[in-house]
Symmetry: C2
């Protein structure tokens, strides 16, 4: 069995380290072979680990007293973050001590540190953030969710390959259906990048996924495809609009049941079923944004996650690690023309972008 | 009282002319001074108008036997559309016979014909499509919803002014709160266009609205602002993602109530309240996309609308017409620097764009 060591930034997020350790124990049930490296304050973490029977034989604590704060600018975090729990977790991935890192800390800082330590994969021009979104059929993978505000056709094609590899690894789909997010489904709709990416995908032989063309915003929740590919601007807006709308409808619904004595009684009778609905829409179920396209795996959890949500983020990291995502994507992308555009970004470009964000 | 004549393309949409005539009668209740010009097949329309007591003294039919089909390409519609019901409705606005046109027909064709006949306003570089979206507080105005796939900072600033004028006219807000849709709320987030537009708005004195900065996707449904400004790519995706998510949650909810005998009974008790929820989320309530930035007003209704939805689209047209939108926006935009960038697009550019879409 391949090794599965997950590095946990045990100081990141609103409820660290309590829910993080608890989440690791929940994840252990799904991945009996997993080992955890917890980076953080040993005095706080050790008693929590001791309290979890499931972690008794698979957890190691690497002590550090420093952490990246929630409001640290990415550039500052990158320059001064050495030795923090987040930094050490990413460093463990770089050094091969762990197969993936998971953090509920500051997103910008995590992206900056992960890019600095792990660098972009030689097959990828721009990394992307991918996550699950709820749909009528279960869930789909969506990317990019904000790592890149502007993308060209080549970037979108790389995202398609990465998203498909994510769906294979995490949803167990041998040939995921992949579509490009657009404002219409006809060939001539959209900007140059999406039209060019569609052409490039149609021209690529033996795709390791089924390319179905364009998908509109309303197709996401319908579950029309398994992977939705977009630039980080539109993707981030679609994801957050979906979250906001689900909350809006839930709020309307709650108000609806308060309207009359009959509706209140109806609520009482339907309560167990409504609880199941709430669980189905629970954002913790879809927690975990994977940074794809680096020479190593890093997964970002929501800062306010509960233990179940943190276990979901660990599950994404474990699924990707076990699938051999990082080497597989190198292989997959060899089939895309033109070959001469394959090549990692110069480190200078990565640093410049991180500096801009700081 | 200012004249209020609405030109109706009575041949456009899935249920023309029946629901359109019925919708006009519903709209008459809100606008007693309105007069309608119905363009279409007189033999079909006349009996329908006769059947509506509210239209007995305010409807005129202009006969034409030809209509633009639902699948006509925009360029073809523009070249061969002369004399069709859609064309004549827009021509009535150009000639001053009507103050606004409303159509439930082919969107691309309507945009092409409207741009060709009405031309872009001398204060506006690019027209935009605006519509209502449901929020926790009621509704907000969102634009652009797909007229422009890429926008520069100047375009976004113009959209902000147009959206604010829309919100004043239709929601009766003296000083609407306006925000730019972005992937974060910090100054450095997003692409050049949104950052530049934010700067330009902050530098403009005496804005006729309150500019609140950036809004994220989840802020739309929260009702954080009255007007959400975006390029047409992200805006279209946000709008359609919201529609799709609302349908997803409704489908989950329906399944929830079928789970057990108790939940079925709960549904029966809460049914009147749930019916009110359904009405609140009914897309017909938010029907009507206004084409803003032309030398005249045109409103697009969903093709599959019912009569109440078509009345909503007429209501938008009437509110905008009564507010003097077209001249007001010329005045408003005079305060934006730099003055030398103010100027309508050359007719050649409009035609080129329409040709590209065909």
């Amino acid at each position: 069995m391949s090794p599965l060591v997950i590095a946990v930034d045990a100081m990141g997020g609103d409820h660290a380290p309590g829910v993080l350790v608890e989440g690791a124990a929940i994840a252990r049930e799904r991945f009996p072979q997993v080992r955890f490296l917890f980076f953080g304050d040993e005095a706080k973490i050790a008693p929590l680990v001791k309290g979890q029977a499931l972690l008794s034989d698979c957890a190691e604590i690497v002590h550090t007293a420093t952490a990246i704060s929630a409001d640290e600018k990415p550039g500052v975090a990158m320059r001064r973050g050495k030795g923090t729990s987040m930094w050490l977790a990413c460093e463990a991935v770089r050094d091969g001590t762990a197969q993936a890192a998971v953090s509920a800390g500051n997103t910008g800082a995590l992206m900056a540190i992960a890019m600095f330590l792990l660098r972009t994969s030689p097959a990828i021009n721009r990394p992307a953030i991918a996550s699950f979104v709820p749909t009528m059929r279960g869930e789909s993978v969506m990317l990019d969710l904000g790592a890149n505000v502007g993308c060209d056709e080549r970037n979108l094609v790389e995202f398609a390959f990465m998203g498909a590899a994510f769906a294979r690894a995490s949803l167990g789909l041998p040939k995921p259906r992949v579509a490009l997010l657009n404002i219409g489904t006809e060939d001539l709709k959209g900007n140059e990048a999406v039209r060019g990416a569609a052409q490039l995908l149609r021209d690529t032989p033996d795709l390791p996924f089924e390319f179905t063309g364009f998908i509109e915003g309303n197709g996401i929740a319908q579950g029309q495809v398994d992977v939705i590919v977009s630039d980080g601007f539109a993707g981030n807006i679609a994801l957050k609009t979906q979250e906001g709308t689900a909350r809006l409808v839930s709020a309307y619904l709650a108000a609806t049941f308060r309207r009359s004595i009959w509706s209140k009684l109806g609520y009482l009778l339907a309560r167990p079923a409504l609880q199941a609905l709430r669980e189905r829409l629970d954002p913790n179920r879809y927690n975990g944004g994977a940074f794809l396209g680096l020479n190593g795996l890093v997964v970002k959890s929501h800062g306010g996650t509960n233990a179940v949500g943190f276990a979901a983020a660990i599950g994404i990291a474990a699924d990707l690690a076990l699938s051999g995502f990082v080497t597989r994507i190198l292989e997959d992308l060899k089939r895309v023309a033109p070959a001469d555009s394959i090549g990692g970004e110069a480190p200078g470009a990565v640093e410049q972008e991180v500096a801009e964000k700081s």
